[in-house]
Amino acid sequence: MMLPDPAATGLARVRKIEGDALGLRTPAFAPTEGAGDLLEVSLGPHHPSTHGVFRMDVVLDGERIVRLKPVFGYLHRNHEKLGEATSYLGSMPYTDRLDYLNSMTNNWAYALAVEKLAGIPVTERAEYVRVVLAELSRLLNHTCLAGFLMQDCGCSGTPLMYAFREREKILDLFESLSGSRMMCNVQRFGGCRVDPSAEWLAATRRLVDGYGAFLDEFEALLSGNEIVMARTQGVGRLPAALAVNAGITGPMLRASGVGHDLRKVDGYGVYPRFNFRVPIGRDGDVYDRYMVRMLEMRESIAILDQALRDLPGGPILDPKAKQRGLRPKAGEAYGRIEGPKGEIGFFLVSDGTGNPTRYRVRAPSFVNLTVLEDLCLGHTVADAVIILGSIDIVLGEVDR
C-alpha cells in the first residue's frame, strides 16, 4: 500500500482548514503580478539535499516558491503490516529500521508499548542503561543533523566531517555493546539484551566528558557565523499555534516556544530522577531549531553524567520476563517516548494471540514534515533545502 499524497488526503486537508480558520496558514505567496512564467521543478527524489529518496514538487516564480508539494513513499516497506504478522519480539529488530539513526530510541518506545500492554516491570539497572543509550542516541542524532544542516547551507563538508567524527565514536560504543553499529536491537521486554561492562561504561564516560569540547568547537565555527545567521534567521518560521495544531513534536516544537518534552511531561523511565532543563526558542525559525538542538545536547551531556554516576547494579533483564511467545491479554496500549526527532510512539492492540492485531507507529519525522509547505512558501529554493534539513527527517521513518 502506497501512502497517499498528503495534499490529496483528508488528513492534511483537515489540518490546513483548521489552520486557515485560526488564520495560521502562511498565505500562499502571490507571484509578482505579470512576471515571467512559473517554473516547475522537481526537487528530488535523487536530489542531494533531500536526505534520502524524497521529492518536493515546487513551483517557482524566479527563485521564490509559490507552491510546494511533498511526495514520498519511495521507501515504503509495509512496516506496520509486517508488525501485525510478526510476533511481539520479532518486531523489535524491525523497529531499528524506522529511524535508522536512532535504533536505541525506537527500541525503547516499542518495548515501552509492549511492557504497558503486557504489564512487564523493568529492572532498575535497565532503566538507567536505557537512559544512557537514549541520550547517546540523541547526541548522535543532533550532531548529524547539525552537520547535514550546515552542509545544506553550503559548507563544503567541514562541519559534516566534524559531526561524523563524533558520530563514529558513538557508533563504536554501540557496536561494542550490541554488536551492530546502527541496527542495535538492544531492548527487550523488561530490560536490555546486553549488560554494559565496566570498560564500556568507562569508555562512555570518556566520550561524555569530551563531548562538551566538541560542541564548543562546533559552535565556535558556526553558531555565531554571520552567513549562518543570515541564512537561517527568519527563514521557515513556524508559529507556536500552528506547531501545536499540526501535532509537531520534539525540538521543532520547542524551537517554536512550546516547552513540551515527554521526558518532563510523561516522566517515563527514570527521567524524573535527573536534573535537566528544556531549552526553548522564540521565533521558530531554522536558526532556533538548530540552536535548540545544540542546547539540548548540552542537557543530554548533563543527563548522561548523572546516569553514569548513579547507575545501579543488579540484573539487566529479569530472566522470568517472557520474551518469545509473548501473548498479552486482549487490550491496547500506547507507548511513547521523547525521541531525538520528537514523540515516537507505538500503538498496539492485542487480541490475546502471539501477534498484535493492530500495530501503528506514530513517527515524528512524518508528522513534522506535514508543515513543510507552510514553512517554505515565499522563500527561495536555497531556503527550502535548509528548512527541510532543519525539520530533521529520516525517510525510513516517514515512509515506513
Binding site: 502571490a30 509578482t32 503580478e33 512576471a35 515571467g36 527568519g234
Partner: protein
Amino acid sequence: MTTLLAVLALICLAPAVAAVLVRNLIHSALLFVLAWLGLAAFYLALGAEFVAFAQALVYVGGVSMVALFAVLLTRPGRTDLLPPPSAARAVGGLAAVSLVASMLASSLFWSRLPSMEPTAPIPLRRLGELLAGPYLVAVLLVGLILTVALIGGLLLAAPRRPAEGADA
C-alpha cells in the same frame, strides 16, 4: 592593413547578419555579442586600444548580460520567436536592402573623401588629459546620465509587489 581590416570586417559582419536571421532568441543575442567582439577587434586594428577594450567591457560584460537577463525574465517559451508577418518582413527587407545599396553607393563611389595617411594613435595619458580637461563637463554629464538611467531602470523593472515587507 587593408587585408587585416577586411578580414576583421567579415568577422564582425557575418555574426551580425546571422543574428538577424536566426530564429532562436538566445542564439541571436549571443551572435550580437560575437559581432560586438569583432568590432572591438576592428577598433584594436584601427589603433584605438582604449576604445576597443571599453567596447568589449561595456558590450560583452554589460549590455549583453542585461539583454540575456531580459530574455530570461520575459521568457515566452524555451525557443522564442514566431516569425513576423511575411508582408512586414518583405517590406522591411526591401527597405533595408535598398538602404544598404544607396548608402554603400554613396559612401564608396561618389565619395569625394580622399583617404588620408593614418594619424598617430593618441597616447593614453593624452586621452586622460582630454577627458579631464576640455571634455570634463561632458564626462560629468555622462556620469549623470548613467546614474539617472540606473535609477530609472530600477524603477521601471522593479516589480510592483503588494507591500508586505518580505525580504527583497
